[in-house]
């Protein structure tokens, strides 16, 4: 018998333990132990759930805990779906719409359009030229379509992250309580391994729906824009905020005329990070049906197709570089006239 029998006997819990004991062997280890005592137990094992279970059948085994967690999740799944499905449905529409738009617009319209956007945002000729080169290169190596799919997802997810993240960041900067509550969640989202997000999502949504990867990307990429909006507003020069108060600004005027403009460099730095992170996650999310360059990387891994994987991987790097350069150029443009002196 196991090493902790004595403990339960002295505590007088033997009856309680054996109350509904079944003699059916529970695990391979027990089977082996019953059949010939081949495995000699250590004299004093760590009192883990499994070790205690050997002595007292009423104590749950570790696998019951993980099983319980799964059962619990599955039992609230219908309710969760009932709430989350309608809320997240627009995300599917947006993603499908963006993918449709990026895929059906002919290349001779799409590429100039993207180059113009790059110029309007960055106001930098070298950056714009580089963007044009990269897009043409994608076309040349027949990766144009997948690159557009990735770009479409990044645009939608970054846009939504900013749309949701900035107000959350503002709320955090205005209320210390909100900050105390939200920061641990952000910490969790940032440290949780990216694959872990995917598991509950697979249970909740079908992989045929676009929102499943949309949610994975947004949840992962929204963190920096929230953090830097909060930080940016808290770092706004208090003298200027005081001046705004002294001239009788309302809280709304203060936010739109003073705090957000002065926090803009920080917010833009957050947006830049968010773009980078959503690009990173789009690749991982290809495991749950996200289209784009990530699919090719995945194919490279699955079928040991070295060339396909590496070309797609480098394509992702190029995409990352143009997105980063364009958003950094926009950030620098905002910063210029403030720091002249």
């Amino acid at each position: 018998m196991a090493g902790y029998d004595g403990v339960f006997d002295t505590l007088g819990l033997r009856d309680w333990c054996d109350q509904d004991k079944t003699d059916a062997p529970m695990s391979m280890a027990q089977l082996l132990a019953q059949s010939g005592g081949a495995t000699e137990k250590a004299p004093l094992p760590f009192p883990s759930l499994d070790a205690l279970h050997d002595s007292c059948a009423r104590i749950a085994q570790t696998r019951d805990v993980t099983q319980g967690l799964e059962d619990g999740f599955l039992s609230i799944r219908p309710e969760l779906k009932l709430v989350l499905d309608p809320i997240t449905q627009p995300l599917s529409w947006l993603l499908d719409g963006a993918l449709f738009l990026f895929e059906t617009t002919p290349w001779w319209l799409m590429i100039p359009l993207l180059v113009i956007i790059a110029y309007v945002v960055s106001r930098s000729r070298p950056v714009t030229g580089f963007v044009a080169l990269v897009l043409l290169f994608f076309g040349l190596i027949d990766h144009y379509e997948v690159a557009m799919q990735t770009l479409a997802i990044v645009f939608v997810c970054t846009g939504l992250s900013v749309l949701l993240g900035v107000p959350i960041g503002i709320a955090m900067s205005k209320s210390d309580t909100a900050q105390r509550m939200i920061v641990p969640i952000l910490d969790l989202l940032q440290t949780l391994p990216t694959f872990v997000y995917l598991i509950p999502l697979i249970f909740l949504f079908s992989v045929t729906e676009s929102k499943i990867y949309g949610i994975a990307v947004i949840v992962y990429a929204i963190v920096p824009v929230i953090r830097l909006t909060d930080l940016g507003i808290r770092l706004v020069d208090q003298d200027v905020v005081e001046a705004a108060n002294a001239f009788g600004m309302t809280p709304g005027q203060k936010l739109t005329r003073v705090e957000l403009p002065l926090a803009l460099p920080n917010i833009m730095a957050g947006v830049n990070q968010t773009i980078m992170m959503s690009l990173a996650m789009v690749v991982i999310a290809s495991m749950i049906s996200a289209p784009g360059l990530g699919v090719l990387v995945l194919r490279g891994i699955r079928s040991l197709d070295l060339g396909v994987g590496i070309v797609a991987g480098l394509g992702i790097v190029l995409l990352a570089v143009i997105l980063d350069r364009v958003s950094k150029a926009a950030l620098a443009r905002i910063d210029t006239h403030r720091n002249e002196q």
Binding site: E242, A246, G248, V258, H337, E340
Partner: protein, 346 residues
């Protein structure tokens, strides 16, 4: 005459239970006792000041004396622990948020030590800011801002950004912004302290010039006694959160109430600050060596007398003869007198 701004029995204590501490301080507890026994910091105690319309009231004290705290009570950027602040007879403490904003927009404007301009807006837009907050129409915003920028000498700089200007010019923008708000009261929190000495002198001149023309009620904070004496109509001296003397600067200079002020005024060039009016005596003779205006400084008189200490001058104020001044009295007035024992101010 009812004062434009009146502060009555104002207390400010920093800490979580500040209101409960007020009776203790009223009962005579000192700043250090309050900190040791209750863990609260005494900011201001029993402040009573009347500020007359069209006068410059200077609040002077060293750092930590509570002067910046005091000026922020006037527009309630800081909430007092006890006391009243009356502006045109209306208690600012009783106002709700919306009324408070209205009074900040229409009655009081403020100039800051670190300028506090909006860095992402041009000089012109900065000067328009108070008017756009008030909701004045765009054309008027532009013309008013342009007018005041020109008045403080910033013609042609409208489209620059604050970071492109020197400190003195940035503070001119700050003053133009405050003037554009078109308020009766102007609060100036160490407005010139961050500037170089020469530029500071320029700015003091600009302020006095504007004041002669506009007749605003100015509340000016400074730690510089020379500056205080140069521009003050009414001088309030603050130490450790309490007023130790207030009144006409000439009176304070001639009769300091306290060794602290005595030490303060010891370094001042009295001949440049004191005026004939403050030193003259009643008319008692009819032969004079010359005539001098009551508002001249003693320095001007010494120059006029070419240093001759035996002369006596007749003092006139406009057409009227108001007294006489012997050069001997003048010389005596140049030596600081020990503090008077009885407290004249409280």
């Amino acid at each position: 005459m009812t004062p434009k701004v009146a502060i009555r029995a104002l207390y400010k204590i920093f800490g979580p239970r500040d209101r409960a501490m007020v009776p203790l301080v009223q009962g005579g507890m000192t700043k250090s006792e309050l900190l040791d026994q209750q863990g609260h910091v005494l900011g201001l105690q029993n402040i009573n000041v009347d500020m007359q319309a069209a006068e410059i009231t200077v609040i002077m004290g060293l750092s930590g004396s509570g002067k910046s705290t005091l000026i922020r009570h006037l527009n309630r950027l800081i909430e007092p622990s006890a006391g009243e602040i009356l502006i045109d007879g209306e208690d600012v403490m009783k106002l709700g948020q919306a009324e408070l904003r209205a009074i900040r927009q229409k009655k009081m404007s403020m100039v800051f030590q670190k300028f506090a301009l909006l860095p992402h807006k041009t000089v012109q837009q900065n000067a328009e800011m108070p008017l756009s907050v008030q909701g004045v129409d765009a054309a008027q915003q532009i013309s008013e801002a342009r007018k005041w920028l020109a008045r403080v000498g910033l013609d042609g700089f409208e489209d620059r950004f604050p970071a492109q200007l020197s400190g003195g010019m940035q503070q001119r923008v700050g003053i133009a912004r405050a003037l554009a708000a078109n308020t009766d009261i102007m609060l100036m929190d160490e407005a010139f302290s961050a500037l170089d000495p020469l530029i500071r002198t320029d700015m003091q001149g600009l302020l006095l010039e504007l004041q002669a023309e506009l007749q605003k009620t100015v509340v000016f904070i400074t730690h510089d006694l020379d500056e205080a004496l140069k521009i003050a109509d009414h001088l309030v001296i603050l130490k450790d959160g309490a007023i130790i003397q207030q009144g006409d600067p000439q009176t304070i200079l001639l009769a300091p109430a306290d060794p602290y002020i005595e030490a303060f005024v010891g370094d001042i060039n009295r001949a440049r600050v004191l005026r004939v009016r403050s030193v003259m005596t009643a008319l008692s003779q009819d032969r004079f060596d010359g005539e001098i205006s009551a508002d001249s400084t003693l320095e001007a008189l010494i120059q006029q007398a070419e240093g001759d200490t035996t002369q006596t001058y007749r003092v006139s104020d406009g057409r009227a003869v108001v007294g006489q001044i012997a050069m001997k009295d003048l010389v005596k007035a140049l030596v600081p007198r020990p503090a008077i024992t009885e407290d004249q101010t409280r």
